[in-house]
Amino acid sequence: MLNRLPIPAQFDRIIVVGATIAVLGALPIAAVLIALLLLDELTAPEVVFWAVAALIVAGALGTVLLPNIVHAAVSLVATLLGVAGIYLLLGSEFLALVQLLVYGGGVTILLLFGLMLTRAADDPVIADGAQKPFAFGVAALIGGIFVAAVLDANWSQTDAAAIGIRDIGQRLFRDYGVPFEIASLVLLVALIGAIAIARSDQPEPEAAEAEEVTT
């Protein structure tokens, strides 16, 4: 079955090796979290939060560190699924569903198609540039600043309540109807653009004439 899908040969190996590593890495974390839950140090939502956060961070690290581009893409999927879990924790089922639909389905397939069509999958290992140490320094600095900023502020907060899907519909399609239409224009532009750019140009007869006039 796997052989007949238009996916690279490494894909099944990734699943086996990646899953093994992921399970081995996840086991101690899960053990600690469950122990804390049983000792009443953490509540159930907190356990879920830390588990999902570990998934997100691990996936993000994989996305930006793995030299094999196909592996990085799979890690990205893990991260984005974890983000859907965060949305659930924040009481927004609608957004979690959208996230699964758009990223789990659309964007992943799109990225894999991009990899296939550029034959990156045949030679998927791309070494990072020489600017790596510099990049690390800048990213660490930025991360530090962001963390400091979050901790410095004294956020006013109320209890997070689950948000009804009906209410979201009200907000999205009535109050924000105009931005919604603008977003549909953005999608139209992206659609037109992707087609117009990627389509190979067989010069039309008229265009060829115009070409001759100029030269």
């Binding site: 004294n154 105009v178 931005p179 224009l185 140009d201």
Partner: protein
Amino acid sequence: MSDLNFDYALLIPEFILVGTAILIIMADLFRKELGLGRLVLPAIAALGTIAAGAASLAYIDDVDDFANVIAIDNYTTFFRVLFTVVLLVVVVSGYEYVERNIRHTGEFYALLLLSTVGAIYMAGARELLTAYISIELLSFSLYVAVSLAKTNPRSAEAGLKYVLLGGVASAMLLYGMSLIYGTAGSTQYSEIAAAFSGGTSEYGFALLLGLVLLIAGLGFKASAVPFHMWTPDAYEGAPLPITAYLSATSKAATFALLLRIFAGPLLPVIDQWQWMMATIAVMTMVGGNLIALQQTNIKRLLAYSSIGQVGYMLMAITTISDASASALLVHVAGYLITNLAVFSAVIAFHNRTGKEELDDFAGLAETNPYLAMVLTAGMFSLAGMPLLAGFVTKFILFQAAASGGYLWLATVAVIASTISLYYYLQVIRRMYLLEPARGESGRWRLSPAGYIATGTLTAGVFLVGIYAGPLFTVADRAARVLALS
């Protein structure tokens, strides 16, 4: 009114633009079946643009908003008219170029029209979410348009750099917006202003970070130094009419948005962002003009020259006041007219010669004295010479900065402006003092559209330079909406 939830009549100009865009795509699809000539698409685009511009005039002195997200006031009307005029100029002066060098003309015109809608809503947005999605509409159209050149292999490459860096800039802008939303508890401009007026000390560093990221993201869109790295590449790789459009609508729309945000919701926290804005303004003025000195390609030269102009405009945001807001609007309008005059001339030159290096302009005064005169007037105006638009608009801009307590900033601007004269003179020197290349000394003429576009715009440059009163009045009425003291 009727029983509808909202007053859709407020958005008629944009309905016209979008409708025209869709009509153009349809006409392009059935071009062969209907036997349409090559002038039909630009003609539809021009007519739709004129209709939208004329419809915008109906909202003068209106004070209204659509669903609390888009303000319909004199400020929006000012930019509606400005952007439709720019679009018309780009369509008229660019259609020959487009015919020869663009891969998909139908899509090209449709994208231009749709991006103008995005630009208008950037000016009209009174809420962060609407502002963001409008920015993306403009940016997406430009990512595509930059990549559409047929003969230039750099085009797609410039498009790729633009789209990747644009994505990063959007992410920074969004993170900044999210922090502002988190600290103010709302995305409505008016509610943010109210929240910030009540004091922001409890958010400390987080609000500052939000402002930094917001300025970085918008600075990228406006190509302010040090976020300008995409500008020269995109300008060089893009088809010429798009280069003109990038330097005009894209910049003006970003400043429309900047002015509305920094004169409204962020005014109460001016102490936190004023120094950043001043720093960026200085870097942009000096950096843009200094790097322009070394350029040998006319598109790259104009790219860095436009970065320098952005620096002057940022100065007006720094010293924000009633006077500097209206001076900024005057300067934006004057800059657009001047820059479009220069670009129309460069497009006409490229239509004839297919070249765009500075050395190719040698001896233009001999082969086409009219075009040399247009370019000279435009470049002198960009440098700020008297009797031309650039002098008047820069003068009141610098004056507003100086009287706003930023004399040193105005002094830097005058120095930077003097530096810019040098590289403009380099172009003029080539046209008047050098001999034309061998075998190319024959006289040649522009196409009728070229004469119309360059002639009208040059007349505009002189008109604003000599009799700018009406422009001042209009800008003043538009700026009054912002209700600065």
